[in-house]
């Protein structure tokens, strides 16, 4: 997908095109099996399947924070694309993650991000990671992105 492609109107087509982009052009997301499961006007939801290789504490089986960071960073980036209604070159400036409770071993993790403010140069995003119930989040995050190229 070219970096300045405008999104197709159809939501499902859009999801397929983003998932295709992740699969073909983002090797690390592909390695983790990350996929988009829902899109909104300025929102995105992604899924991270549980995998033994992502465990940070072998005594509990709890995922390493780095895997959660990757899921949240990727989801935040896609919510910015949704708010922009196209894919531009963006880069994460900062990301703060609060771990509210440990991820449950064996369960897939979802992240939902919302780009709540977009200026010409900067996008502001917040996100929650959860196991299916956003009211009981595993992690809460806030980040900023710079729009590198318009």
């Amino acid at each position: 997908m070219a970096s300045d492609d405008t999104f197709p109107d159809d939501r499902r087509q859009m999801m397929e095109s983003i998932n295709g982009f992740l699969r073909d052009s983002v090797p690390h997301n592909h390695e983790l099996g990350l996929s988009v499961v829902d899109l909104g006007v300025a929102e995105a939801t992604m899924r991270l399947p549980y995998a033994e290789k992502l465990v940070g504490n072998p005594e509990t089986g709890v995922l390493h924070g780095g895997a959660v960071t990757t899921l949240i960073d990727a989801t935040c980036g896609i919510s910015v694309f949704m708010k922009m209604a196209r894919m531009a070159r963006i880069a994460t400036l900062d990301l703060r993650i609060d771990y509210l409770h440990p991820a449950t071993p064996g369960k897939e993790l979802l992240a939902r991000a919302e780009c709540y403010k977009l200026t010409r140069a900067v996008a502001f995003v917040r996100a929650l990671a959860h196991h299916g119930d956003p009211a009981n989040p595993v992690a809460s995050a806030q980040g900023t992105f710079i729009i590198v190229e318009d």
């Binding site: 983002v26 090797p27 690390h28 509990t60 709890v62 390493h64 780095g66 400036l93 900062d94």
Partner: protein
């Protein structure tokens, strides 16, 4: 979450005793699946304990630049903090992350990335750390983090 694991998991406390005595850091980094997966090792070649994330194509986040995925840099910074706590304090469990703030300063090139964590406060229950990650030039970090951990 602190319940007994179902299978025979590596005993971190036993490994730590050995690693603290012998400096065989690989025993520890290999016992943690995520650091093994990212190719993160601990080394002490200059009298200073550093973390190294060996470059592999699967660490790339954007193939058109190409740049290392920000999530893996977050994983490296957090891992460096965890290993600093495991090797510098007497804790015998993997510390639990409370909060981390990562600043991405430059894009990571497809090469090894180093990281150094510094404990800025060590309390009875909470530790604060500052972490830097760089590639060839230590004075030009590519990412930095402030992290809080719960020790128990």
């Amino acid at each position: 979450m602190d319940s007994t694991p179902p299978g025979p998991a590596p005993r971190i406390a036993n490994l730590l005793r050995q690693v603290r005595l012998t400096g065989e850091y690989h025993l520890l980094t290999e016992a943690i699946p995520y650091t093994r997966f990212l190719g993160i090792g601990v080394e002490n070649t200059t009298g200073e304990v550093l973390c190294r994330m060996r470059y592999a194509p699967m660490l790339i986040g954007n193939s058109s630049i190409p740049a290392i995925h920000g999530g893996t840099l977050g994983g490296l910074l957090e891992s460096a903090a965890i290993f600093e706590l495991l090797l510098r304090t007497q804790t015998d469990r993997v510390p639990k992350i409370i909060s981390i703030t990562v600043d991405f300063l430059r894009s990571g090139r497809p090469q090894d990335t180093l990281a150094k964590a510094t404990i800025t406060r060590l309390g009875r229950r909470v530790a604060n750390l500052q972490v830097q990650a760089w590639q060839e030039d230590r004075s030009r970090p590519i990412a930095s983090a402030n992290a809080l951990f719960l020790l128990s």
